[in-house]
Symmetry: D2
Subunit: 397 residues, 4 copies
Amino acid sequence: MVARSAARTLPSFWIDRYRAVRRATEALVAPLSPEDCQVQSMPDVSPAKWHLAHTSWFFETFLLRPHLPGYALFDPDFERLFNSYYNGIGTPYPRAERGLLTRPPLSAVKEYRKHVDRSMAQFLLGGDEKYSEIIELGLQHEEQHQELMLMDIQHVLSCNPADPVYCVDGPRADPVEGDPEWLTFLPAALAEIGHGGDGFAFDNESPRHRAWIEVFEIADRLVCAGDYLQFMADGGYQRPEYWLADGWDRVQAEGWTAPLYWQEENGRWTRFSLRGRMAIDSDEPVLHISHYEADAYARWAGARLPTEVEWEIAAGSGRLRQRDDSAWQWTASPYVGYPGYRPLPGAVGEYNGKFMSNQMVLRGGSLATPPGHARLTYRNFFPPHARWMFSGIRLAR
Amino acid sequence: MVARSAARTLPSFWIDRYRAVRRATEALVAPLSPEDCQVQSMPDVSPAKWHLAHTSWFFETFLLRPHLPGYALFDPDFERLFNSYYNGIGTPYPRAERGLLTRPPLSAVKEYRKHVDRSMAQFLLGGDEKYSEIIELGLQHEEQHQELMLMDIQHVLSCNPADPVYCVDGPRADPVEGDPEWLTFLPAALAEIGHGGDGFAFDNESPRHRAWIEVFEIADRLVCAGDYLQFMADGGYQRPEYWLADGWDRVQAEGWTAPLYWQEENGRWTRFSLRGRMAIDSDEPVLHISHYEADAYARWAGARLPTEVEWEIAAGSGRLRQRDDSAWQWTASPYVGYPGYRPLPGAVGEYNGKFMSNQMVLRGGSLATPPGHARLTYRNFFPPHARWMFSGIRLAR
Amino acid sequence: MVARSAARTLPSFWIDRYRAVRRATEALVAPLSPEDCQVQSMPDVSPAKWHLAHTSWFFETFLLRPHLPGYALFDPDFERLFNSYYNGIGTPYPRAERGLLTRPPLSAVKEYRKHVDRSMAQFLLGGDEKYSEIIELGLQHEEQHQELMLMDIQHVLSCNPADPVYCVDGPRADPVEGDPEWLTFLPAALAEIGHGGDGFAFDNESPRHRAWIEVFEIADRLVCAGDYLQFMADGGYQRPEYWLADGWDRVQAEGWTAPLYWQEENGRWTRFSLRGRMAIDSDEPVLHISHYEADAYARWAGARLPTEVEWEIAAGSGRLRQRDDSAWQWTASPYVGYPGYRPLPGAVGEYNGKFMSNQMVLRGGSLATPPGHARLTYRNFFPPHARWMFSGIRLAR
Amino acid sequence: MVARSAARTLPSFWIDRYRAVRRATEALVAPLSPEDCQVQSMPDVSPAKWHLAHTSWFFETFLLRPHLPGYALFDPDFERLFNSYYNGIGTPYPRAERGLLTRPPLSAVKEYRKHVDRSMAQFLLGGDEKYSEIIELGLQHEEQHQELMLMDIQHVLSCNPADPVYCVDGPRADPVEGDPEWLTFLPAALAEIGHGGDGFAFDNESPRHRAWIEVFEIADRLVCAGDYLQFMADGGYQRPEYWLADGWDRVQAEGWTAPLYWQEENGRWTRFSLRGRMAIDSDEPVLHISHYEADAYARWAGARLPTEVEWEIAAGSGRLRQRDDSAWQWTASPYVGYPGYRPLPGAVGEYNGKFMSNQMVLRGGSLATPPGHARLTYRNFFPPHARWMFSGIRLAR
């Protein structure tokens, strides 16, 4: 009789980590009604109910179904309904119509989560260690959706003229006083950026690679609301010379005169937030800014946005304030693959690669990013006109 | 001491009638979740929650607020949120965004209904008899919304690929067997149509007036699904010669090949209904037909649609089958005011008059019309391309 | 041996009549460059070049090709290119893309006209008398396009900020001084309207039929610019209570504040016309008015628009001023077929019937209508929002 | 008496160079009618007449008006009408409405050109040498418009179902036989790209700068139609795995199944060109390709597009075939400013910089590029979905 060498099983810490991430997601919807979780206020937004289901679908599709023997699907229709964009898994339900699905109700989606959690508990107890990577990907994926949920909930609630409050102590960025300090990085050098070590990173952070970088300066803090009000007062939204042509078209077509969620009444500006409508605090970082606005502000200020290479070098130096807890920072870098970039094999390879067009990279992290989720090499990305993210500005020159 | 002649108070039957109508509305949402009641699946549709609130708003706005001393508004924001289209009351909340209002939740709207009901109970007990007309208008208005709710719920549920069932014994039109009989009306004569007697009627049914009518024939039953399948089999949707130019444009642009909610699989046609997806029964009246389709079918059949004068004369004769319990019947008459038409005074005058353009009159009543609501003189109206109503075809020639 | 009775040939007056109509068309483009004749400034507009070709296509398609032995097509591609909307003749070239056809150039289209004219001269000399009706239809059709050409040319030139002049003595409506007189028609009676006699009329004017008509009053002159300026000064375009709902939506969506082609500078109103930009003359009839505006004006003035039955009875009395030489007069009547209406047989049956939806009838004639073209029974029709016609207002009550 | 040092005047070669460029532009419209020169077939296209005027406007605005004493404007309206996008010069006439301007006619625009040419002749004879740069910019600008004119004319003519010929011996790319050879560039190194020497270059080609470049291979010839047909035959347009997400959306929304201008009949593919409709020649470079298609093709072929750094290094080696005479070559590089990029001062600074978003860089030159216009450092750019340029594919890996 011949013994096969035993496969190693998953280490036990996964159980706690899995539970913590899943509970954090559920905590986000605790203040919300079934109605709040149902609505899709624009095509970019997904209903909170959909986020709850899709993050479970991810574990079901990429782990339980292929790798847990005897796993019973909670509902076969969910394969299509809660597929976001993986053509490799079948034809996804149309993105812009997610808000039309009144069934399953929120209660059933919560049951779906429990079903997946029970099966995952079983899987994590005895599963092969080789699945660690896809488990980690599922958890990182769910953390990304935690921030998306907050963005989307804020947008949904903002459509209500009564300015409803999501949570009185919802996330908020700390104010910073005083002028920014300009940090200088020299000399010009061959730098290395990107993920290269052990821990987890998304495929778009790799490979670690060399890039030539000239001398630059970068501000040690973010642009605050008070700074931005000066840009506005100086006619920032009325003067085409500060704007990219596409940005100026957008300003005209959509009548932009301030960041998203800002309103003016009798000369006083307020902003809608997860805590409801609030007075502008001059020392808070400006939020809900498009790339076009960030770029125009920088030009007005006689500066520019940093490239992502500059950002990563500067952030790695440990000298930046508000690095990843306040606002994602628009860079001057379009979102493309790093030299030698390869997507993951299989359907999960659609995760990042196919979105590498018409988007700009943001770096850092925000008040809504789950603690521990962001990394120095993390690459967030959105189209240059998007504003419903927790996005802000760090200047370079 | 001089006694003022006592005003007469409202008769007691209003209490029962009011309660019955209100309870009927609430029964319609009993099978629905908060999510089902939230969604607006196209701009023409309103969420069921909105219907529940708006019908209460009507009593609050036109009766309680002006005429019940000491009445306390349930929520001052509701004046705007649940105003449908009465510019005389203020600027209504945008129609196409009704589905974005997650607050108030369904539960609060139900509380709002109770609040209005309690105050109405008080009002009906001691109110002046002169308010009878506006009470009746409020109840008729709510009955209209009962049918709209069923139309809207069916549309919302139809967006779900799982074909959910609203109610297993939801309303259904009875089948009728056999060929239609052609009823002849002669000689040409000066007819009278429109509302002229006592009971309630909407302003658009008045005044009763004279109209010259030539000899005509009309079918004693509606066009059934079997008839309509022959039109389809004969290339009805592919042959422009049967269609009005606007109708043909719509066929091309939206790819119509069958009535709304119909689907074909392996040569078998089904239709989505309030009972879920069902096989087509040849003897049932065809439903969810636009005016363009009704008109094209009639031309194909060598017939035409009746005018509303013809319909009213024929229906008054007592010889029509499926008069008002199966499907609203498209007429050849555009929706305009009768000679001498005057809207009601005040904001309630916006009820009907301002919609007298780009719409066609439907007569009769449908499987979803509340019992007792329809009248011989009743004028329903929709744009010629609309299909989500319970609309069908009665031929004339 | 039996002699068959010889067919009668066409009378000779056709030759002069044909030539006169064709020359009149060509005179209209005499002041225009090839560029002016090329452009389609909105989907409703056709290039003047297209009008020149399409009116020739009509004779080629319905007379020369089927009935002139040995007729050689000028260019086989023209069958499709210059078919307006006759599905019975094949698939027409898309209406909205007429302005994209740079070939054939204007010069070739003029050659096409000569080719058709030569063949028509041959046909008119020896053709069978039975073709009189289709010849007359072709000429009436071309006269309709003469007015359309002026409408379209004015619209094209209006897009040029330099306000170019079509013709310094272009058509103009005479001013009328003094208040309108209200003419009374009584008693209520069974009237007859529609075409019933010999001479030419379009199919939509038939059959002559009976209609009951109540007592009414009608203004003996049109609403003039001075009247309309009062409506504007009284907030006509800002007060929803005067407007049909669809009209009010249009006012908001398109920012209407005055008739089409009107502009205000320093409190002085001007209008763009075929003579270039001109000061408003208070006594001229208001022009370039939509049905929505006409209806709103009438409601503001405490009056209404006449029905087409009323208009025809009043016009037949000989008591109306500005009957058919100033502006088409919007009626309250949607455009539908008269009782017993039948389109012509064959493809030419698409001439009028298939447009009987979503349009309103205008009666009379305008400054741009060819002399002799309009008739008492003539039914013009446009969608209620259209404004580029020479349309105005006559009040009734 | 003190002599001021005399300013140097412009060298005489400018006179010939100016005339040659202007004549070349006029030669391009020689085969065209006024109608051909009038039409704008989509918002991206400008009428040929507009190109003729705008290139003259450039000299008038940036040279004659500010720097030729006594210069008389040809027509003051032209300042606005023929301003393309320079907000610094005033509000440009709306781009999408250029085709609506029938006045001035083509003949007047030709007069305008002569007027400008006469004044430029005067200017070039005695002008200060310091204006050399702006003269050169004006001529380079006009050469750019020469290629744009050919692109636009081809698009206009393509809208005509008769497939009209622009010119029987219009520009055409030479076929190349045989498989491509892969050229290898090593080792990884610090490269320099961008314009740094004397001669003319656009601002976006500067500054010359360092960039790190890894080892790469690049094909010595372009992808030919035969190669591309294999991609199509292998389901290239039906398989989402090859496409960027935005590209796949575009394929679906616009029904792409082949390059722009290609048509299939009975299994035979043809393409519309400046020579009319022609059979596909397998050995010709594929043309009229979007970035999305180029990227999908490369992925299908197991390769990728080169970055612009790689392209410039490879092209500088002298080893590339079809470098700049066949088709512009899509790169993998989004269009952004080089490190240290500064736009020109004044309104002319809007030339390139404000377009640095949502576009991809193309390198090389095409069959329609004026001889001598392209440079090794030349950066062309278009949005990734655009296809009406003479664009093709060179692979890297």
